[in-house]
């Protein structure tokens, strides 16, 4: 290895050669459209994902209107309702949350936080975004296809997904959905390889793995998991496409459709469920782990305190990532699979609660004896803990096989997964946007609007999903476009449904304040400077804000310490940037740097 001389300011001095001319983009198109700069790609990903999120938000309004006021809105018939449910679910899980955390935050933060100039394969990175864009285009196109989008539920269970009793089953909907997913997975694989290889290969000098910010650890682990999990969905999609278009019987047993025997035989509907959830459960953590990582950094920065138990946090992330591959069938306790699987999957599922609980403890122990600044990002981080703990604990109901039996497929499940992988990660996304917007644009988001956005979103989401558990406990099934008359459902439950709908409308409308804030602050926000939160991690130490192509100007930073040197005793300020030389933590008495 070449011994690179260290500059006095903690930078690697570049050899004296001119900036390579071909490296930088020269035209508007290569700078903003077919850009190879990870930061531009990140913004493209985030913009498209947030746009899809707005579509999904409107779909959720339409669903809630039907559930809160059944029969009032005649255009929401059963067909339309199931199409809205399906598209809302698939959009949010895959095209919004996965794309935003990995494609958006991953692209922006990984190179900056590990001290790289860019992703290691910039051209592939560009392709990744445009293929994602194509996947979104195909997905949205299904709204305009004959028969409309698929209404099979986001789980797409066959045979229902490809038969005539389901919207889009014998039309274009399901085909476009499957093709869109396959395209998405191809695009994601390009991005995911980039994120993993960049973390492993392009870290700045001194940035050991155990000095990386937890944000990078979370995104890195999630990307690695996604590379392993998405192929299961890919083959499932290929097989179902064959079943739908070529008449194969991968998932189709002998069956009778609306009185007519079908020429199918021997396929297994359960096989698809195993493939789907082999992807689908890790997917939950693909969304959760980046959120875990990001929220750790938000809490640490805004509480001016080192993250508590850093090494335990890293190991917990990895343990959760690994365990999440052996819990998938807890989605299938009442699927008719061999019931003895229940013992195994209930045990693995509840074991995951242990590393997850460790993370929660360490977040709140970071607050303990901190110097807590209740900034907007910090408020979102606190709200994340509330909703995540709530949703995580109800997961202990659903994971514990026999408790799942009465609750499975009821509104309890809907409330649980929205709380834990809907509301909680989205609160982190909001917190993260308020936190990093100054780096991306050079300006702060408006604080007052941010607080309004925060309180309505947090309290509203809690008021929507907390009572919803009790509808499920009572026995109201999910995926009913009209509850109708059920002897065991009292009138008060319908009132509760109407209440939930009204709150959902208010919370949704408040997101417009957020969108407005994003655009308004671009021009009118307060000037942020390079490091408005006085944070330690490398992205705040760039010579220019917003960072230009190549991030670091002439010299790449050198890392001297971990990411959490806040309030170090004896230091002259309450944070020590990672690239600042000087007393390391070893001399302050702590053990591992």
């Amino acid at each position: 290895m070449v011994d690179v001389p260290l500059g006095s300011a903690g930078v690697v001095t570049a050899p004296d050669v001119e900036d390579v001319e071909l490296y930088h983009p020269h035209s508007w198109v290569t700078k903003y459209v077919f850009s190879q700069d990870a930061k531009v790609i990140a913004i493209q990903y985030a913009f498209v994902a947030l746009s899809v999120g707005l579509i999904a938000l409107v779909l959720s309004w339409l669903m809630r209107l039907q559930l809160g006021f059944p029969g009032v809105f005649s255009f929401i018939d059963a067909n339309a309702y199931y199409q809205f449910v399906t598209m809302h679910g698939m959009m949010m899980v895959v095209y919004v949350l996965t794309a935003l955390f990995l494609g958006g935050f991953g692209n922006y933060l990984i190179p900056l936080m590990v001290g790289a100039r860019d992703m290691v394969f910039p051209y592939v990175n560009m392709l990744s975004f445009w293929i994602y864009f194509l996947a979104v285009f195909i997905l949205v196109a299904s709204f305009f296809a004959p028969g409309g989008p698929t209404g099979a539920g986001w789980t797409l269970y066959p045979p229902q997904a490809i038969t005539s009793g389901t919207p889009g089953g014998q039309e274009w909907g399901i085909i476009l959905m499957l093709v869109s997913l396959m395209v998405f997975i191809i695009g994601f694989t390009m991005g995911g390889l980039n994120y993993v290889v960049t973390v492993l290969q392009a870290r700045a000098r001194g940035m050991t793995l155990m000095r990386m910010p937890l944000t990078v650890w979370g995104i890195f682990t999630a990307s690695f998991m996604a590379l392993l999990a998405f192929p299961a969905l890919f083959v499932g999609a290929v097989m179902m496409l064959f079943d739908r278009m070529l008449g194969t019987s991968f998932f189709m047993p002998a069956m009778v459709e609306m009185g007519q025997p079908l020429d199918r035989n021997g396929g297994s509907p359960l096989l698809f469920q195993h493939l789907f959830w082999f992807f689908g459960h890790p997917e939950v953590y693909i969304v959760a782990l980046p959120a875990f990582g990001i929220v750790s950094d938000l809490i640490s920065t805004h509480a001016r305190r080192n993250i508590f138990g850093y090494r335990m946090m890293v190991w917990a992330l990895l343990a959760i990532g690994a365990l999440s591959f052996v819990v998938w069938a807890h989605h299938m306790y009442v699927s008719g699979m061999n019931p003895y699987f229940g013992f195994f999957f209930a045990t693995t599922t509840l074991i995951i609660a242990i590393p997850t609980a460790i993370k929660v403890y360490n977040w709140i122990l970071t607050l303990w004896r901190g110097d807590i600044h209740l900034t907007v990002p910090m408020l979102f981080a606190l709200a994340f803990i509330v909703t995540f703990v709530n949703g995580g604990l109800t997961g202990l109901f659903l994971g514990n096989v026999v408790v799942d039996v009465p609750l499975s497929d009821t509104m309890f499940v809907v409330a649980h997964f929205h709380m834990v992988m809907g509301v909680a990660p989205i609160l982190v996304i909001f917190g993260a946007i308020y936190h990093w917007y100054p780096k991306v644009t050079g300006r702060m988001l408006n604080d007052g609007l941010g607080k309004l956005h925060f309180w309505v979103t947090f309290l509203g989401a809690y008021a929507i999903f907390f009572p919803m558990h009790y509808l499920g406990l009572m026995g109201i099934p999910r995926r009913y476009h009209d509850i109708g008359d059920m002897a065991f459902v009292p009138p008060s439950a319908h009132t509760l449904n109407a209440f939930i709908t009204i709150v959902a409308l208010i919370v949704g409308a408040t997101q417009l304040a957020f969108v407005f804030n994003l655009f308004w602050s671009l021009r009118h926000g307060r000037e942020a400077g390079g490091n408005p939160w006085r944070a330690t991690t490398l992205e705040w130490q760039t010579p220019e804000t917003p960072p230009p192509h190549g991030n670091w100007g002439r010299d790449v930073p050198v890392v001297y310490r971990w990411a959490y040197d806040y309030s170090v005793p004896g230091a002259d300020q309450d944070f020590l940037p990672q690239n600042q030389p000087g007393p390391t933590r070893a001399t302050t008495g702590a053990g591992h740097g």
């Binding site: 004896r369 202990l396 026999v402 009790y470 099934p477």
Partner: protein, 275 residues
């Protein structure tokens, strides 16, 4: 201050909501009281953890809020504390998992004296088949389904002669007698769900799944489909009527004319009318 107060209100409010809300499970009508008990244990443990975590957060937000001159405590880790918390969490998890697995063992172990019945789903109605006096169901196959054999029962099986078929109607069951329900679907996934029984299981085309329970209370209960099965999913309803043994037998006698034997051409000649 306000933030800490709101956090306290969320913790306390959630508990109060849990205690006073009118929305709670239906009175149980089967032997699965154990499931309810396990849920109650889980509510206690998780509720305590939730309140403890949120209140601790509220305390920190109040006690360690930023003030001039405050400096955070620098302490990267505390091995002792971390291990203690891990162990306590492990114990709590075990306290929920152990009863859960114990009850699951019961849930999947069908008692020897359970009577086989069949629950049959198709888009979008429930049908049922009860064994006649022989107490046994005949074999069946989806490929045998036809307008005059809606459940695809194997006519060559002698046990088919006395099977009672109820199409799109109501399931009658005697109280306090365990039943093993064999679940079949003609087309897509369905799920047999009676909230008062707590039990639930998917009907999967191409295979026979099962569930067992003992109705413990007479009355009429709603059967819902709990697995999305197409646009008619919410309309796929049925009724289960749990009766005293004598009422049940009287009903069964009444139903004898609709037994499978009566539906078959051979039986029309009148030799094999079941008792």
């Amino acid at each position: 201050m306000a933030v800490a107060l709101i956090l306290v209100l969320i913790a306390v409010g959630s508990v109060v909501f849990h205690l006073v809300s009118p929305w709670w499970w239906t009175p149980i009508a089967s032997n699965w009281r154990y499931i309810d008990n396990t849920i109650i244990i889980t509510f206690w443990i998780t509720g305590a953890v939730f309140v403890a975590v949120i209140l601790f957060m509220a305390y920190c937000v109040y006690r360690f809020r930023h003030q001039a001159g405050r400096q955070a405590h620098y302490e990267p880790e505390n091995k002792r504390l971390e291990w203690w918390l891990t162990i306590v969490t492990g114990v709590g998890v075990a306290a929920m998992l152990a009863p859960g697995l114990f009850v699951w063992q019961q849930f999947i172990t069908v008692p020897d004296d359970a009577t086989d019945i069949e629950i049959f789903g198709q888009q979008w109605q429930w049908s049922f088949r009860l064994p006649g006096p022989d107490g046994q169901l005949a074999t069946s196959d989806t490929r045998l389904i036809s307008p005059d054999n809606p459940l695809g029962i194997n006519r060559d099986d002698p046990k088919s002669q006395d099977d009672v078929v109820i199409e799109g109607g109501e399931l009658h069951l005697p109280v306090n007698r365990p039943v093993k329900a064999l679940l079949r679907s003609a087309d897509v996934l369905h799920d047999f769900y009676v909230p008062e029984f707590r039990a639930k299981m998917d009907l999967v085309p191409g295979q026979v799944s099962f569930i067992w329970f003992t109705p413990t209370r007479t009355g009429t209960f709603e059967i819902l489909c709990a697995e999305l099965c197409g646009v008619g999913h919410p309309q796929m309803r049925g009724k289960v009527i749990v009766q005293e043994e004598s009422d049940y037998q009287a009903w069964l006698q009444d139903k004898a004319p609709t037994s499978f034997a009566r539906l078959t051409p051979d039986a029309m000649s009148g030799t094999a009318v079941p008792d």
